[in-house]
Amino acid sequence: MNAESGGTQLLLLLLLARKGEVPTMSEAIMSSQMETAPFDPRFPNQNQTKYCYQSYVDFHRCQKLKGEEYEPCQYFKKVFRSVCPNAWVEKWDEQLENGSFPSKI
């Protein structure tokens, strides 16, 4: 999801909060789809490096296969945006552009 829609959802929440109704985090999640990458049993350990990388690869493979408009692909993007350091994503985007990314998309 992009920052724009997240922002409007958040505004609603803030309005709700101003009226004195304090939302709990779970309510906030319910109403604004504010959720983070879930636990993934493929990566049950402390080391989450491959959760991040695999989601990045999956997103681009999904887009290549289904087209950029295909909504379910956004799930992978959400996951890698939550888990990957921004610097890593920038580096990989660059590598994808100049064809030096280490995985086949």
């Binding site: 490096t49 991040c52 990314f101 280490p102 995985s103 086949k104």
Partner: protein, 263 residues
Amino acid sequence: MTSSHGFHPYHLVDMSPWPLTGSISAMMLTTGLIKWFHQYNMNLLILSIFAILLTMYQWWRDITREGTFQGLHTSVVIKGLRWGMILFIASEVLFFFSFFWAFFHSSLAPTIEIGMNWPPYGIQPFNPFQIPLLNTTILLSSGATVTWAHHAIMEANHTQAIQSLGLTILLGFYFTLLQAFEYIEAPFTIADSVFGSTFFVATGFHGLHVIIGTSFLLICFLRMFFCHFSSNHHVGFEAAAWYWHFVDVVWLFLYVFIYWWGG
């Protein structure tokens, strides 16, 4: 010759300059390497290599004189020499073990930097059923010929011993030649990811050991030519044969895991 003739079976060695020249040239070698890296000048390095080779030649020449002509290598001394060679080869096994450890560490769970793939995306490994398979048969055959040479020596058959040992050396040389061609043809370098690094370090050190083993066998060949070996006293040849078998076994592991499974 005072110390060599006591009433005991041990070989108390005479004064020798070679440990000193050996240490000095080893120190020169490391210093020469640093000088080469920093000042682009190989003079000291070349001088030290020459000094080391000279030390090696003279030291082993003296050992040959002591063992073959002075009869100082009694059965007890031979036992010690054998144990020394066994422990040396054991240490070499551990040396190669560490390279295999690095290889399996990198290949069994490939990191994201190489796309979680082995071989990494973009690397074209060698076809294991071309030159590497030929090299396997060459080394296995050389293992057979060196055993043939051993039996010929034990049966005091000088002609066959010369022929089979010569054949072993030729096979060793042929192996080195093929590896050299393979290296020249390689589509990846030692700098191409951890694949290139583990591949060239492991096979490169094996190649170096083949060259050392071939030299060892060549010295035995020359000594055989000069009739230094008898049917019941040929420790130098035995050590060379053990070493050759060790190099052979290392190759089998390299072939199976790095060329075949890992390629």
